[in-house]
């Protein structure tokens, strides 16, 4: 064969007599499919290494004997290929007949009838299922999925394409399943005799999604619809900030979501999902859903009509507003609800409520990112797109655990690792990525600025910084430089509790990356110095010029599915939509004109302030939308007391939360599957949310409720549908002006997108920062509000796990997840466990100055000695009873990541 002589990136080949221009390095199969030439294939998936197992993609290549698998052969200039010769067709037919003889051909009762590759090709090739005696393995025998709540394996339907195994190994990298046995007895299994539940399976559903037949299928969906019975509705996931595109498979006759799938090639997740997106949809149809408005009378809730409830809300909110003024009334919006809902909510607060007391949970988590990066760079959002992650050369992950909290970003990092990326992880816990990092800095919680300052001082000392970038693109460098004096590697090593050489190596590796990118989440922000931490990371990126280009920058991974959107929409005290400032008279004037009212100018507070004011008796009315501050803010016991003191509380919710229990009026709302709208994911991409099922009972879409409440409060609002709401907002927002429902119908667009011709912006700060010059800031190290002492000698840090989502009122409705992590737990280092005489699995008492809990101990070496870690998913064992209500100075974000605690035998 001739050597590859590509003209640029294109290779010309001939397929079935047609000239095809293929991308250099692609396979014959990819080239054919891209040119619309059909070649059957079962074991091929664009995300997996080709393996040539199914033998269906065979073609004949001129000059070569026999048949070749087109999936494994790369295009070579001048290659002549024939895909439909008598020989390959006969071979395909034979292979299909062999597969059929190994298959329980039972299409009548099969869930994949109409959506099965074996069916499709057997029909195309008229394969005779009776040519061979049937030797299919027996169905119904116990196997590794028998105990699973999530999925089921039926070897009698398995075509042994191994896509499931390869996905688990190559993409998810959970390595939970393999092919066991040999020859005809080959089948999928965990391979070591354990059930799937006990294995390293993360229930991402990848194996089910990739299976061409019904061999692997979602257990709960069996019998509930074949492809022709199911309507697929494309929407955006309701859980984390990645914003995966998924298809809710709805049995319209039952008005029920039966299963969730995702299309290969979709942006940003390319067909991958995590356990929550894939399986945690049971909450939608939970019998615990709120279905009617409720009014509290004599301490108990009674059902009410919408009219009665809305009238009451309108009356009481207006009364309090007029009687007590704008500081006594507050609105808490939902970062899990749509952009349209959030836009209306801040409009409700400002126009109907006449106050700037509007906030949402960004304060709880990434408030410091919005504020800190906003100051330093002019924009508080993730600088790069998710699809740029796989091309990062050096990943610096600090205070983040993406394989659990942002699984699809985790997959992108896993892919980067497979492509040879270097990884530095700074985390007090040995997470999945920390284990595989080249450098793991297992530093003491709350010592990040020590670490970052020392790294920067060392980078300057070794001349690894970028003087040109600093000179041309930034300002305030001398003040910053002055502050670095005294931050030595040795001092940092001591304070952080890590070997000095690791800090040096990390600094060098990051500075020299080609390129490097920083990724962080709440390990950085949920501190009393959270905003300072963020400012300092911005310093680090600017110092080395590792920002403002593809695959390089600083990336806060936003938590909620629409916290980015909630911020974008101005559900924040100091911001109007699109980050236009309340304090800016020109911005105010624009909105006043559009909305036809004059806007309030009081200094609004954030959720932390609302709770404080409530405790002081100064907050009289509180409208709480899709949030449960009693569960999710620190020091829950105090919070419950504070909320009780508020005169009038309204909760617009889907479940009876801890906060809702304390409300005066509860309004039943819709979840993501029951309404239309948009979410903004962490990479600033605006994506569609679509209604798939009818809401239960008397529930109304949130945007409708908000309009009706506003109307009841004296400012009439009404729209025909959510796209009108978006258009109104876009017209007032330069960042979003070019986005509308038509443009984002197939793929979302990343803001800034100032006009309808603009394609959107993958990465930020190219050429100039949003604020012009990047701002260096002098950041001193300050310890957490509470540090270990004799009484409480350990550090308690909190966070989340893969399987449950935050307070877990949605995820725990799914059996598979509830069974995976049925109870709260605490991670303890084995030295500390030994010191008090407890072993793995024993119960242990965890106490702080605010409360105590008895939970199960997970004893290992995952955490640092002297540190313990807990999740906050279990309402019956509320970890936030223990956390410290100490807050960041700028954003009032709680210090969830560090307080003092002690452990003892219960």
């Amino acid at each position: 064969m001739k050597e590859n002589t590509e003209k640029g990136n294109t290779v010309l080949v001939q397929i079935d007599g047609r000239e095809v221009a293929a991308t250099a390095g692609s396979s014959l199969l990819d080239a054919a499919l891209a040119a619309g030439i059909h070649i059957p294939h079962i074991c091929h998936d664009p995300r997996l290494t080709p393996t040539g197992a199914c033998r269906l993609c065979l073609v004949e290549i001129e000059g070569e004997r026999g048949f070749q698998t087109s999936c494994t052969r790369k295009v070579v200039e001048g290659m002549k290929v024939r895909t439909q010769t008598e020989g390959v067709r006969a071979s395909r037919k034979n292979t299909l007949e062999l597969l059929l003889s190994e298959h329980c051909v039972d299409c009548l009762t099969c869930d994949k009838d109409g959506d099965c590759l074996l069916q499709d090709y057997s029909y195309e090739y008229q394969a005779d299922k009776n040519r061979f005696p049937n030797v299919a393995p027996a169905a119904g025998e116990p196997n590794y999925t028998s105990e699973s709540f999530a999925l089921e394996y039926d070897p009698s339907k398995c075509v042994r394409c191994q896509k499931c195994v390869r996905y688990c190994q190559e993409v998810q990298m959970a390595e939970a399943i393999t092919m066991t046995n040999r020859g005809g007895s080959i089948e999928v299994s965990t391979g070591i005799g354990v059930s799937l539940n006990e294995s390293s399976c993360e229930m991402c559903g990848g194996c089910v999604n990739v299976c061409p037949t019904s061999a692997l299928y979602d257990k709960q969906a069996k019998g509930l619809g074949r492809s022709k019975d199911l309507k697929k509705v494309r929407t955006t996931c309701t859980y984390c900030g990645v914003g995966c595109q998924m298809d809710l498979n709805v049995n319209t006759k039952l008005n029920r979501i039966v299963r969730v799938t995702s299309e290969v090639g979709c942006v940003p997740n390319n067909g991958a999902l995590c356990v929550k997106g894939k399986y945690a949809f049971d909450f939608v149809h939970s019998p615990e859903r709120l279905t009617t408005p409720l009014i509290k009378e004599n301490g108990k809730f009674r059902e009410a009509s919408w009219e009665e409830a809305l009238t009451l809300v309108g009356k009481r909110m207006s009364e309090i507003r007029d009687q007590h003024g704008p500081d006594a009334i507050a609105f808490l919006s939902s970062s899990r609800c749509t952009n349209e809902d959030n836009y209306l909510m801040q409009k409700l607060a400002r126009v109907a409520g006449k106050t700037n007391n509007i906030d949402q949970c960004a304060t709880t988590c990434h408030g410091p990112s919005v504020a800190g990066l906003g100051e330093s760079l002019g924009s508080g959002a993730m600088t790069n797109a998710i699809d740029e992650i796989e091309d990062v050369d050096t990943l610096f992950l600090i205070g983040g655990n993406p394989t659990e909290a942002h699984p699809i970003i985790g997959l992108a990092m896993k892919k980067a690792l497979r492509k040879g990326a270097k990884l530095i992880v700074a985390d007090p816990r040995e997470t999945w990525l920390a284990k595989r990092a080249l450098i793991h800095i297992k530093h003491r919680p709350g010592t990040d600025n020590m670490l970052i300052n020392a790294m920067m001082a060392y980078i300057i000392e070794k001349n690894l910084h970028d003087p040109k970038f600093i000179q041309e693109r930034c300002e305030n460098y001398p003040v910053f430089l002055e502050n670095l004096k005294g931050y030595t590697i040795e001092k940092a090593a001591e304070e952080c509790g890590v070997p000095a050489h690791l800090i040096r190596e990390a600094a060098e590796m990051y500075a020299k990356g080609n390129p490097s990118a920083i990724f962080y989440t709440l390990g950085i922000t949920e501190h009393t110095c959270g905003t300072n931490n963020v400012r300092n990371l911005a310093n680090l990126a600017m110092l080395t010029g590792q920002i403002g280009k593809r695959s390089s920058g600083i990336n806060p991974m936003r938590g909620q599915n629409n916290v980015q959107g909630a911020c974008d929409m101005g559900a924040m005290p100091k911001n109007l939509p699109a980050y236009q400032k309340v304090a800016d008279p020109a911005a105010r004037a624009k909105f006043e004109q559009a909305w036809g009212v004059s806007l309030p100018t009081n200094e609004g507070g954030c959720v932390t302030d609302f709770m404080e004011k409530a405790g002081e008796g100064k907050l009289k009315a509180f409208y709480c939308f899709g949030e449960d501050p009693v569960r999710s803010e620190p020091n829950s016991a105090k919070l419950a007391e504070d909320v009780e003191k508020i005169d009038f509380v309204v909760c617009q919710e889907i479940f009876m939360t801890e906060t809702a229990k304390l409300a005066d009026v509860v309004l039943p709302a819709t979840c993501f599957a029951e309404k239309d709208g948009t979410f903004a994911n962490t990479e600033r991409r605006i994506q569609r949310v679509r209604k798939a099922v009818e809401a239960p009972g008397l529930c109304r879409p949130d945007w409708e409720i908000l309009c009706q409440v506003s109307t009841a409060m004296g400012y009439p609002m009404s729209y025909n549908d959510p796209s009108e709401i978006y258009d109104e907002m876009a017209a007032l927002s330069p960042n979003f002006a070019g986005i509308n429902y038509d443009r984002i119908d197939k793929v979302g667009i990343q803001w800034p997108c100032p006009s309808t011709e603009h394609p959107g912006t993958p990465f930020l700060h190219q050429g100039r920062f949003t604020r012009g010059l990047g701002l260096f800031q002098a950041i001193p190290h300050t310890p957490p509000a509470e540090v270990p002492d004799a009484e409480y000698p350990m550090i308690l840090s909190t966070g989340r796990t893969l399987y449950n989502y935050n307070i877990a009122n949605m995820t725990r409705k799914t059996e598979a997840i509830a069974n995976k992590h049925p109870e709260n737990f605490v991670e303890v280092h084995r030295d500390d466990a030994a010191a008090i005489g407890i072993k793995n699995g024993d119960m242990v008492k965890v106490e702080t100055r605010r409360g105590s809990l008895v939970v199960k101990a997970h004893v290992a070496r995952k955490v640092r000695p002297g540190m313990i870690w807990m999740a906050f998913h279990h309402e019956e064992s509320n970890t936030n009873l223990l956390t410290n209500d100490a807050f960041d100075a700028t954003t009032r974000t709680g210090e969830y990541k560090a307080c003092s605690a002690r452990i003892s035998k219960p």
């Binding site: 393996t51 040539g52 197992a53 033998r55 065979l58 034979n94 190994e102 040999r182 080959i186």
Partner: protein
């Protein structure tokens, strides 16, 4: 051997001379095969020799050496006495004293332990037909040294070829020598070794690997085992030369786990070679670094396939991978890799030492040099034989092999194991090389050669190989995984008497489809035993299918036991031993077997004192 580094070719030669002297101190050596023959008590034999020689005060004059395989396994346990060249076997512990007295002291042979040639006891090995007809080149020193002793290997010339290659030749010259010698892969592929090395040499990159494939999975093949067990340094030396040629600094020997002695001896050899600087950095001062790691398989025939072997070495499941890319370009850890069979590498030192012309002077255009065959089955002299390519099948079976057992008629030779086929009697005069064997529907393969007589059922044999393939198929691709299952099922049906008229055509069709559709060599050759036996013994299949008869009387149910009324005297022993009530007859009158009730156990045939019962 003291811990002394050999850093130049000169030092090697000096060592060789020194070690030869040490060997020559003994006036005689007792070479006890201690590898394969261990199964028949060789350890006790060598112990007995040690003790009794010491008791007789002869331990300084006469050495006892635990060697590798002498080759004539049918006479195991074997003992060779040097310098007399007397080969004794089978030897028992009770014979040791006599050997010492008669031969070592008295200089005479012990006749009853000798091979009988034309009725005469023939003690001298070189005069025994089994050995006379062979050309023991690769196996030359197997049986002549203790494989656990580096000094004995050096004494016989080990590492001289490596020194020559590393210090006087360039890698390109080494490749040219091996290429022009015409060495073809001895594992079964038959691909020119030098050409493969050239591809790897030319492949971009500096990190390259050499793998010695000792997975030897063919049932009945044990030449690689014998070489690793018996002359491990010869293999190590071959690897050094090959690695030098391709530019590899790391080598692996992948040994099947079922060869513990080979693993043991190889590891001893590697340790010793390292300790003396023959492996490691700057070998012979040439600037060439190379070291070898011994790795074991885990019981999978498919891991003899090169890409599956590489997967296994990488810690993955041992399943084949698509080619291209070929390992020479992208193999272990996606780096250029050469995989050579043990016997192939065993040939390399002598090609370098003696030159390509000498090597190519033996053999045919279809195959140069010699081939080691594992003779098994219904042949007198079972064991390992090394013959020049081009020797006829008749010469191998009759001259070397000593003919078919009990002088029964030769039916066929199964060549190439599960990837091969049978060569029937009409081709006895075929000159054996890679091309000629292929032309009759079989392959030389790794060298397994199973001799069959008229008591072998070819259909049953085909069934056996399908059973083997089904056990060993990795299961990745449908043509092999499911196709061979159906081939096996059809053959089982035929052997049970339920064959259909359409079966033969179906098997041929399916067989060809499996060959065309399978991903790797296992599947691509799995149907060969079936296709080859149908080709050459179609009539036997037809008898099974149409007449429900097994002409070789092997397939249960397809033959009968019949009492010859003329020979039967009615003693009734058969009826007494019959487990059913199939035999009836009056005392002293000819008995008869009721075929319906007969379960074909064959006890009556065994017990009849008058040979009146026969299998038909």
């Amino acid at each position: 051997m003291s811990e002394q580094l050999i850093t130049t070719a000169k030092e090697l030669t000096a060592c060789q001379e020194k070690f030869q002297e040490e060997t020559n101190r003994f006036r005689a050596r007792v070479m006890v095969c201690s590898t394969g023959c261990r199964a028949l008590g060789a350890e006790a034999l060598s112990k007995a020799f040690h003790e009794k020689l010491a008791a007789a005060g002869l331990e300084r004059e006469i050495a006892v050496v635990e060697t590798g395989c002498h080759g004539q396994c049918s006479r195991a346990p074997l003992v060779l006495i040097e310098p007399h060249d007397f080969l004794y076997g089978p030897v028992k512990v009770e014979d040791v004293e006599e050997i010492i007295q008669t031969t070592l002291v008295g200089g005479q042979p012990v006749d009853r332990l000798c091979e009988m040639v034309d009725g005469k006891p023939t003690p001298t090995r070189s005069e025994i037909p089994f050995f006379k007809s062979q050309s023991r080149e690769v196996m030359k020193h197997c049986g002549s040294l203790d494989p656990k002793r580096l000094d004995q290997a050096i004494a016989l010339g080990s590492y001289q070829a490596a020194a020559k290659a590393l210090t006087t030749m360039t890698p390109e010259q080494v490749i040219a020598e091996v290429l022009e010698a015409g060495l073809k892969g001895r594992g079964g592929g038959g691909f020119p070794a030098g050409m493969k090395w050239q591809f790897c040499r030319n492949a971009p990159g500096t990190e390259k690997y050499l793998i010695c494939n000792s997975d030897e999975g063919d049932p009945g093949a044990f030449m690689d085992r014998a070489l690793l067990e018996g002359v491990p340094h010869q293999i190590v030396e071959g690897m050094i030369i090959a690695a030098y040629a391709i530019g590899a600094s790391k080598g692996f020997v992948y040994v099947r786990a079922e060869y513990p002695i080979a693993v043991e001896h190889l590891n001893i050899a590697l340790k010793a070679a390292r300790a003396h600087g023959l492996l490691g950095k700057n070998i012979f001062g040439s600037g060439f670094d190379f070291d070898i790691e011994c790795r074991m398989g885990a019981g999978a025939f498919v891991c003899g396939e090169e890409t599956a072997l590489i997967a296994s070495l990488e810690g993955q499941r041992g399943t084949p991978r698509p080619r291209p890319p070929f390992p020479a370009i992208s193999g272990y850890n996606q780096k250029p890799t050469i995989i050579n069979n043990v016997e192939t590498l065993g040939n390399v030192p002598r090609i370098i030492a003696e030159g390509k012309e000498r090597f190519a002077s033996v053999g045919t255009t279809g195959g140069k040099g010699t081939k080691i065959f594992a003779l098994a089955g219904k042949v007198r002299n079972t064991g390992l034989v090394e013959v020049p390519m081009g020797m006829t099948l008749r010469e191998i079976v009759y001259n070397v092999g000593g003919g078919v057992l009990d002088d029964r008629p030769f039916k066929a030779a199964q060549m190439g194991g599960p990837s091969g086929g049978c060569v029937p009697a009409e081709f006895l005069d075929l000159a054996i090389d890679y091309d000629s064997v292929k032309s009759v529907g079989a392959i030389v393969g790794s060298g397994g050669l199973i001799v069959m007589d008229d008591n072998t059922c070819m259909v049953d044999m085909a069934r056996f190989f399908m059973e083997f393939v089904q056990e060993e198929s990795c299961g990745k691709c449908p043509p092999c995984r499911v196709g061979t299952r159906h081939l096996k099922d059809i053959l089982e049906r035929i052997c049970a008497g339920h064959g259909k008229e359409s079966d033969l055509d179906e098997m041929e069709k399916l067989g060809k489809e499996i060959i065309a559709g399978s991903q790797c060599g296992l599947g691509q050759t799995a149907p060969n035993p079936v296709l080859s036996t149908i080709r050459h013994f179609r009539g036997e299949f037809e008898a099974h299918i149409r007449d429900h008869k097994c002409p070789a009387k092997v397939c249960q149910g397809l033959y009968q036991f019949v009492i010859d009324a003329d020979k039967c005297i009615g003693c009734g022993i058969c009826a007494k031993n019959c487990p059913t009530t199939a035999i009836s007859g009056e005392k002293r009158k000819a008995h008869a077997i009721d075929q319906q009730a007969c379960v074909k156990c064959g006890v009556c045939n065994e017990k009849c004192p008058y040979a009146a019962i026969s299998k038909v």
